[in-house]
């Protein structure tokens, strides 16, 4: 079969099993768009800004586990995609981004809409390619998917000069079934000796804790993690990225850890004598001040990326492996082993944890006559019966979503953890809804974040992706304001906007339903109404208590045991705000 470059590109994506392309046309990709026009297998989702394309593809990838695919033009199309590429990179999300490039002969001449995309994205991709020969195009696409989806996943950019896709240059097409790269060996299995040492440590521990992260979600190892945790009887905490990998309503789950983790999770980390870190990377938002991190603990670390091991925290036993087989092997060894964790020690440990838990660190003022953001999230959980896919933006609302919506399944909690990208939530929700049209999909956001990609409301209408936008509108960039309150003596420097759009009208202008909610008693009915409107995108604008803070909080430079807790219930509204 002889095809031109544009056809090869589209056919390669078909052969790769791609369902959706999130993209935006432009000069350098016109040949590709022409080839796209002449087929019906792949659905193209026209976003309103290239950042939206990358986030939507990312949301799709996080929810399904399949790679997200993006197509953008050269120059500004490519640079607009960079934030979304970096977002996917920081959270290890498989994504293939095809960017147009100016034609080969003019590369380097500052041609119209030329930018060195390979150079710009180099630090925020797993790998990237510039295709210089049309006969290498299919193989390059195959390699891109292979690199993006294997090992520690990540985004891969394929930069395609316009003349490579020229209609009149036809070459034989064959999509490779398999590809191998001599310098890339992604499959690693756990070393049995290391696993045995790990078993010795965890059966001898008195105050053990399992600390698991996004790697368990990415590695589809929830079942194995749950089984192991139940067998061992240890308490388990999840990172922000790992929520849902272990059922949050399980009695062994002690909440998220880190900067806004629960009191019991952070105290248990601090006092533990053994940490089993699984698919987590000791991020600074998790560890707090490194010198104070888990002073009594030995650490076992299972991760697919050797560079994540002993990067910030020195570990005692390193197990470099895909999480799933490592946990399976570990289970087998535990079953074979005659050593068992001390029941007595575990009982005492659980007793201590229950004491920590009894302070009820996530409690808040339930009698306020203002809408508490936490209450909205709790009600959302009730109304969706805990089954929704929840995307979020970045800030206070993100933390409240993580704290007050217990996720029992993996891939239901979709947020930008590593890069912390405001504007992520709405396009990501569209990507999720396309993948799961029958599921409830809600985007928990704030009035600042949602405006960063608000234009995608238009995409939501065009492709009939009825998501529910839960806007926790506190008229502040809440997290910035909170830090300013705590560390800058409440000097609220530019953390508020004097002009906030009327979101109801805005939603209506985009062809959706808008509902403004101002009283606590209206929260539940509004949510029920919104979710009853199955085929409509609904923008719920909750006017919340603008002074509410996220607690607990480990402030910068502090250790896990040194948390700022909610001082007294119901006082936040009494504080003077500028």
């Amino acid at each position: 079969m002889e095809l031109n470059g544009a056809e090869i590109l589209i056919q390669s994506l078909k052969d790769e099993g791609v369902e959706f392309i999130f993209g935006y046309p432009g000069g350098a990709v016109l040949h590709i768009y022409d080839a796209l026009f002449q087929q019906n297998d792949i659905k193209h989702i026209l976003v309103r800004h290239e950042q939206g394309a990358t986030h939507a593809a990312d949301g799709y990838a996080r929810a399904t586990g399949n790679p997200g695919v993006v197509l953008v033009t050269s120059g500004p199309g490519a640079t607009n995609a960079v934030t979304g590429i970096a977002t996917a990179y920081m959270d290890s999300i498989p994504m293939v981004v095809i960017s147009g490039q100016v034609s080969m002969p003019v590369i380097g001449s500052d041609a119209f809409q030329e930018v060195d995309m390979v150079g710009i994205t180099r630090p925020c991709v797993k790998h990237n390619y510039l295709v210089k020969d049309v006969t290498k195009l299919a193989e390059t696409i195959k390699k891109a998917f292979y690199v993006a989806t294997t090992g520690r996943p990540g985004p891969v950019v394929v930069d395609v000069p316009k003349d490579i896709t020229a209609p009149h240059i036809k070459v034989p097409y064959k999509y490779p079934k398999k590809v191998s790269i001599r310098s890339y060996e992604p499959t690693v299995s756990a070393d049995k000796g290391q696993l045995k040492k790990a078993i010795d440590l965890l059966t001898a521990a008195h105050r053990p804790i399992i600390y698991s992260g996004g790697g368990v979600v990415l590695g589809n190892a929830s079942k194995e993690l749950t089984e192991l945790t139940h067998t061992l009887g240890f308490p388990i905490t999840n990172t922000l990225m790992g929520l849902g990998a272990f059922p949050a309503t399980d009695k062994q789950f002690i909440g998220m850890l880190g900067m806004h983790g629960t009191y019991e999770a952070n105290m248990a980390m601090h006092e533990s004598d053994l940490i089993i870190a699984i698919g987590a990377r000791f991020d600074d938002r998790v560890t707090g001040k490194l010198d104070l991190f888990c002073p009594y603990a030995k650490i076992i670390h299972i991760d697919i990326d050797p560079a994540s091991i002993s990067k910030t925290v020195k570990v005692d036993i390193a197990i470099v492996s895909d999480v799933k087989p490592a946990l399976e092997q570990m289970m087998e060894l535990i079953k074979e082993s005659d050593k068992k964790p001390s029941k007595k020690a575990l009982e005492a440990w659980w007793k201590q944890i229950k004491e920590w838990k009894s302070i009820n660190c996530l409690d808040y003022d339930r009698n306020s006559n203002l809408i508490k953001p936490q209450y909205v999230v709790e009600q959302l959980y009730q109304v969706t019966k805990g089954n929704a896919y929840i995307t979020s933006d970045v800030g206070q609302h993100q933390m409240w979503a993580a704290q007050y919506y217990p996720f029992d399944k993996p891939r239901r909690w979709i947020n930008s953890g590593g890069l912390g990208t405001m504007g992520f939530g709405l396009p990501a929700a569209i990507g999720v809804k396309l993948a799961f049209p029958d599921a409830d999909v809600a985007c928990i956001t704030g009035e600042a974040s949602v405006q960063m990609c608000i234009q995608e409301l238009s995409t939501a209408l065009q492709y009939k992706t009825p998501v529910k936008i839960i806007n926790l509108n506190n008229r502040y960039m809440g997290m910035v304001r909170q830090w300013q309150e705590f560390t800058y003596e409440s000097r609220y420097s530019h953390s508020y906007m004097d002009t906030i759009p009327e979101f109801v009208k805005l939603a209506e202008a985009y062809g959706h339903v808008g509902i403004r909610v101002e009283k606590p008693e209206d929260v539940r009915p509004a949510l029920e109404e919104a979710f009853a409107l199955k085929d409509r995108t609904v923008f719920l604008d909750f006017i919340t208590d603008r002074t509410e803070n996220v607690y607990p909080m480990i402030e910068a430079g502090k250790g896990h045991h040194d948390m700022k807790l909610r001082v007294a219930l119901g006082t936040s509204t009494d504080r003077e705000l500028a």
């Binding site: 180099r122 630090p123 310098s183 560079a307």
Partner: protein, 163 residues
């Protein structure tokens, strides 16, 4: 401590900037970097001299290994090895200093490869610290120009860094 990291990397455009970019992005220092093709035209050999604590060097080697284009690498500090660097030094000479500079060059097994009435160019190869010593042995005010290749190295014995 000084480490000489020897890397086999795909001989493709951009490979060098991936390595250099990694060092700047992660704040590692590079003292020198040399790169050239090997007997296998599809591979380049890169020799990188860096300094850092054991932890930092461990991260550097892991991060380098993570680059898709890196085929193999070795930290020569971990094994018996030979280090060589080439240096060309242009030195001002006078009737009085000629003999002395020639003597110093001889001691360092340097060769004088260019002579004018007022200058020499001295070529010296050796481990980097030997080249440092030569510079220290010459009166600084007589040095016009120093050109160094950056260190390269190879492990001793039968074993080698290859595919």
């Amino acid at each position: 401590m000084k480490h000489i990291i020897s890397i086999l990397i795909e001989n493709e455009s951009g490979a060098l900037s991936r390595v250099a970019g990694l060092f700047s992005a992660r704040g590692y220092n590079i003292e020198s970097l040399t790169v050239a093709a090997t007997e296998d035209a599809t591979l380049s050999r890169m020799t990188l001299v860096t300094r850092g604590s054991e932890d930092v060097i461990e991260q550097i080697t892991k991060q380098l290994n993570k680059l898709i284009d890196v085929v193999k690498l070795i930290d020569l500090a971990d094994t018996a090895h030979i280090e060589r660097e080439l240096m060309l030094v242009k030195v001002k000479t006078t009737e009085k200093t000629r003999e002395e500079i020639k003597n110093v060059a001889d001691i360092f097994r340097g060769k004088i490869i260019d002579v004018t009435p007022t200058s020499y160019i001295v070529e010296i190869t050796g481990p980097s610290d030997k080249l440092d010593s030569f510079i220290a042995a010459i009166d600084a005010k007589n040095i016009v120009e120093v050109v160094r290749s950056g260190a390269t190295g190879i492990s001793r014995g039968e074993k080698g860094l290859h595919l």
